[in-house]
Symmetry: C2
Subunit: 483 residues, 2 copies
Amino acid sequence: MTTEDEDKALRYRRAQSVTRAEEISEQEKKVRRSQLDKPIHKPRDSLFSWSSEFTNFTGLVNWGFLMLTIGGVRLGLENFLKYGFRVNPIEWIIVLTGYHEGDKYQYPSLALIMFAVVPPVIALLIEKAIAVDLIPQKIGMSIQIANILFVVSLPAIVLHFKGDDFSFVGITTVCMLYLVIFLKLWSYTQTNYWCRCGTKRKLSKNTLRRQSLSAPTWKSFEDEKNEAAVAVGLVKYPDNLNLKDLFYFLLAPTLCYELNFPRTARIRKRFLVKRLLEVVFGLNLVLALFQQWMIPSVTNSIDTFSTMDPIRITERLLKLAVPNHLIWLCFFYLSFHSFLNLMGELLQFADRNFYNDWWNANNISVFWSTWNMPVHMWAVRHVYIPITKRGHSKVVASIVVFFISAFFHEYLVSVPLQMFRIWAFLGMMAQPPLSVISRMAEIKLGPRWGNLIVWSSLILGQPLAIMMYYHDYALLHFTPAKL
Amino acid sequence: MTTEDEDKALRYRRAQSVTRAEEISEQEKKVRRSQLDKPIHKPRDSLFSWSSEFTNFTGLVNWGFLMLTIGGVRLGLENFLKYGFRVNPIEWIIVLTGYHEGDKYQYPSLALIMFAVVPPVIALLIEKAIAVDLIPQKIGMSIQIANILFVVSLPAIVLHFKGDDFSFVGITTVCMLYLVIFLKLWSYTQTNYWCRCGTKRKLSKNTLRRQSLSAPTWKSFEDEKNEAAVAVGLVKYPDNLNLKDLFYFLLAPTLCYELNFPRTARIRKRFLVKRLLEVVFGLNLVLALFQQWMIPSVTNSIDTFSTMDPIRITERLLKLAVPNHLIWLCFFYLSFHSFLNLMGELLQFADRNFYNDWWNANNISVFWSTWNMPVHMWAVRHVYIPITKRGHSKVVASIVVFFISAFFHEYLVSVPLQMFRIWAFLGMMAQPPLSVISRMAEIKLGPRWGNLIVWSSLILGQPLAIMMYYHDYALLHFTPAKL
């Protein structure tokens, strides 16, 4: 609106008001006030009237906060009255480790977790072998790729033969760990490959220069850079190929390998203790919420989902959405703030950019590129940029990144459930159209609506996918009598 | 905090950050960036870390809004699945009018509502008689007081003898109407009394002046004022004592009588239609919420309240609090904005100050003096100021206002329920200590906490009182089998 329009609107608003100050003169007001009947009425609009120009509704923010709290406390009490106290820490240890009494081979998940150090060590050995020209680069890289693919397929293979020995949580943890190692080794191999290519290029350039130039000037720009790097204490390839460096990278809260990570000057003890307490208490909170609220809700919903009654399904879905979303929020804070910062502090790792302000995201694309920064940075550095540098368009690169992401979402769900449905994959496939819708809402209706769509898809999409999987899982594993 | 303190805090915060920009020189950064391993990590804090100084959480407001909406939709669906569709407009007409099939005298509430015009007409006749000196002022005032007291006691008397003919909603409407007429007639009588006293005082003053001054100067200041009043068209006592003026006051959206109400220039038709639609649809919404949500919740809670189990009672209370509060909010908007503005627009009544911004109230006293402006203005003009003018302290005046308010709250509940419990009275009695607590919270913890206490007492206090009454009502009226 131009200033003139605003002025017009203001004048119209004033004219619509009951006040109309110009009608009553000061003289008249004075006479009116001096009457014997002690008059107290004067022309004024109600505050909700558009013409009153009143806009202070700050108290309503407190109202919203209070209504949420009251609703939360009531849901908690209702849950407690209905299901009793279900939190049982011992059960979690059994669930996590897959321990069955009477079994000989008692901790299959733990065994797989411990085996996870083997592939990285193999990767280091191959890198070393390529660096000292023990094996040619091409053959070495093929072995590396085979090693990395072995990492990601191992959980699926083991589960296929020994599925009954694993608990659901145990195998999920294993899948998560092997996926992280897969991504880290991919980065490790590719980064070392970049260094090798760069060193070779430099060498050949320098040789050329040395041949063409006279003796005093052959000390090239590259060499100067090299010396500067040594002066500030930077490690150069292949000095990085050792166990200490590899294990630092495996433990560091990042998926992208580089030779010289930025480091902090010291470990802040207060910060460390706070994060540690958050992890310990937060983990218990999440497990308690899960046992007390999530499991009964999901179990109760399974009948409803079989009836296919849309009203009942919606009600169940909304009921499930609240605990699921709260658990996800706790999980997000615990993993991405508490746990990764704890690891970062312990390792004096200075880059703590584990998440961006996804809660303000005005469209789905922004959300996906801000909520999980380690994966986002990995995808940009190791998939998106290499593809665009090979001359492919940005669209092609985006599609590849997107499909890799969709595959790993499906991997993290299907392998532990031993059930190859495509719900998670479809969920990821729904992201591009949703992204377009949210982008349009952001442009046409304003950023607030874009943000609301992001939150809605987050709050409602997850329980929908969970119910799909649980429904199919229950149909496969439970007898009809049990249902 | 002083500027120095802030500066210190900022420096401490910077020192606690992982960034510590001063440690890494520009030169070092440049060297680091030029490495072959394409480094992407740089020192930065996580956004949730206190040292990151990040404060943009606007998306969380949308989150809160969405969680409230989802919770509301789910509660609505759950209610529908549990109780089916219960809204029945015909039932309301029966409930409102107290119509019983087979009764001869079919509309007792309607008869009492129509009778409500009689006492005001009597009051007018008495005023007229006093004004023309037909009866002495003292006797006239006694009859007026008797007439006003008759108004407030009539519903209670009729109900005592013919209680079974009335429905609960019908008698509540009657009580509300008679209470309003009681307050209006009190104001009418007292204002006319002020005018009479003022006129007499003026007359005697003028007589004195006329005797003491010479002829040309006897035209006093008072006369000038009088002429000015006539010039701007103001009505003077006793010209106001007519039926038209009386009925305008009875219909006008105010409890305070004055001879010359401020008037608007015209009836805004758009405004009128909007308010009318709000009243029609809003009333149906409130009735629907009441039938569908409130009645089943209250009925379901009655067993729980008899068991005296504190956890179950709390859960029921919180469950009841949500629909009760939403209905109260709808009721507030409908009565104080839609209905009173509708009456005001129809009567061209210019003072629309029916409520103030009570939603921002930071303590209970502010809430009570802002949520219901007609009653607040009446209490200040007709009780508080007259008492302080007689030389009593402000504390005494406040206590009297408070007790009158408490009495009428009890009146509006006990008479319709035909059950003289003191829960409403006790609820009012809880206001002064609550007021002190909220005032202390406002001072010690800040205005936000004061506002939270005001909202809490509003959201939780009402359902508590409702359950108390309904519990006692059910014990009296229903057989144990029905319970």
